[in-house]
């Protein structure tokens, strides 16, 4: 118990002192997860909006698959991306395995279905409300999707933050394709896993505290955005 207390003390010491290793790990974590969420939004927002406004044969099956993909186990994503990027894989020539790029790719694969599926839901609900007006204006499909994406902007921001929450907290995918190499691909979650197993609880705890603080801040941001959007009736 005393060890535990001492570890907490050390952890706060590391955070307060702005420990270089700690900052490097946090920085890389943010870089990887923010990049992955941006990429996932670039794919998932148009994909979700398209699924919401376009009717085509097999759409029901596509929606079931997409919703199922939301629950993809990170280790399975890691494995699939590993197979693609490994020397013998189809993308092996790029030499991306065990680099931050590989981690971004893996988290993008993990988060895109979440962004797309939630976007589809949000946009479809809004479309039901706007449908007659937009058809009365004789808008083309692309313009319909653009109108809906913009008008759903506050809901979609929370969708993106949900995706970020998933990315920043996962460990299974990045540890497989990143390898948790010190100063290269070590991020918060992989470092926590490693340091805990080594018995270096201080760094693990410090990272855990940062991670939880981030989660609280993100949720606070979501609630603030939602509240201000509600005040202007834009949500």
């Amino acid at each position: 118990m005393q060890d535990f207390g001492a570890a907490f003390g050390l952890a706060f010491g590391l955070i307060a002192a702005g420990d270089a290793d700690l900052l490097e790990i946090i920085g890389l974590s943010l870089r990887v997860s923010v990049s992955a969420v941006v990429a996932a939004c670039m794919i998932g927002l148009p994909l979700g909006a398209g699924l919401a406004v376009i009717r085509f044969p097999g759409r029901g099956v596509a929606l079931v698959l997409l919703n199922a993909l939301m629950g993809l186990p990170p280790v399975v994503v890691g494995l699939m991306v590993y197979l693609m990027l490994s020397r013998a894989g189809p993308l092996g020539d790029f030499g991306l395995l065990y680099t931050p790029s590989a981690m971004i790719i893996a988290q993008t694969v993990l988060v895109t279905p979440i962004v797309a599926a939630l976007t589809r839901q949000v946009v479809e609900d809004l479309h039901a409300e706007y449908d007659e007006h937009l058809r009365s204006l004789a808008l083309r499909r692309l313009e319909v999707a653009r109108t809906l994406l913009w008008d759903a902007r506050y809901s979609l921001l929370t969708v993106a933050l949900a995706g970020f929450g998933r990315a920043i907290a996962e460990v299974g995918a990045v540890i497989i394709v990143g390898g948790n190499i010190n100063h290269v691909t070590r991020i918060m979650t992989t470092a926590i896993a490693l340091e805990t197993s080594k018995g270096d609880l201080a760094l693990a705890l410090a990272l855990g505290i940062v991670l939880i603080t981030l989660a609280v801040l993100i949720n606070g941001a979501v609630m603030t955005i939602r509240a201000s959007a509600a005040r202007t009736a834009y949500a």
């Binding site: 007659e132 058809r135 009365s136 204006l137 004789a138 808008l139 109108t147 008008d151 009736a233 834009y234």
Partner: protein, 255 residues
């Protein structure tokens, strides 16, 4: 290519582009859930007259309006715009105001700009036209207000201003004053009157007898999905041709 050219200059060319009226519906049928809701309506709507569609609840007034506007596909019969089936050019020459206005999650001004841009009005012209539309509706003070925070009456004024800003050749209105206070109703009716004076064909659904008397040049009376009469307003209110219309005007329940 041609389509794009038409879309790009729909409003600028509205003076010179070929007219889309008269609008003719031939033996229009609409079925849903195995029930025939519109049953063989044939009607011709000519420019210059304010047509008011009346009838008891469930007569098919809103359905008829949506079929004419092209929001619903008829199960049978056809609709001709100056002899041609609905094409993009005809779509761009009409507008509709709904009973419950659809307000985008944007400011009042941006609601207008969105509609103008959707119809291909050049960006430079959009600003002044949107401003003019706001002033016309008496909403210039609310330009920056989120549209969904406007009162019910203001929202409907904005919806009407938005439709009129498109300079449509024909304007469909589906009970635009159904839930409005008298002051807002007056503003809406004044705007409708102005649009009519400027040459926009008005097709208005209402079950407010007073409003029909104030606005109608001709009355289209529907009952159970059928057209019972299309008569000049004075004659309709004076001597309705059908017993159903007579009962309706007398305030009796029409089955």
């Amino acid at each position: 290519m041609l389509e794009r050219a038409l879309a790009g200059s729909a409003i600028e060319e509205s003076m010179s582009a070929p007219a889309v009226l008269p609008l003719a519906a031939e033996r229009l049928v609409f079925e849903a859930g195995g029930r025939r809701l519109i049953d063989g309506i044939s009607i011709v709507l000519r420019p210059g007259l304010r047509s008011v569609v009346m009838g008891p609840n469930g007569a098919g007034k809103s359905l008829t309006l949506r079929l004419l506007h092209g929001l619903l596909r008829p199960s049978g019969g056809r609709i001709l715009w100056d002899g041609r089936p609905l094409d993009r050019a005809a779509q761009l020459r009409q507008a509709m105001v709904f009973q419950r206005p659809v307000m985008l999650r944007r400011s009042a001004l941006d609601n207008l700009l969105h509609a103008l841009r959707a119809r291909g009005v050049p960006r430079r012209a959009c600003g002044s036209r949107a401003q003019a539309a706001l002033e016309r509706a008496g909403l210039e003070g609310q330009a920056r207000t989120p549209a969904r925070l406007l009162s019910g009456g203001e929202q409907q004024r904005l919806a009407l201003a938005r439709a009129l800003a498109l300079a449509p050749e024909i304007l469909f209105l589906d009970e635009p004053c159904a839930n409005l206070d008298p002051a807002s109703t007056l503003v809406i009716e004044t705007l409708i009157q102005q649009a009519h004076d400027e040459g926009t064909k008005i097709v208005l659904v209402t079950h407010d007898l007073g409003q029909a008397k104030r606005l109608a040049d001709e009355v289209i009376f529907l009952h159970r999905g059928r057209l019972l009469e299309q008569s000049p307003a004075a004659r309709f209110f004076d001597r309705p041709a059908s017993p159903e219309a007579e009962a309706f005007l007398a305030g009796r329940i029409v089955l």
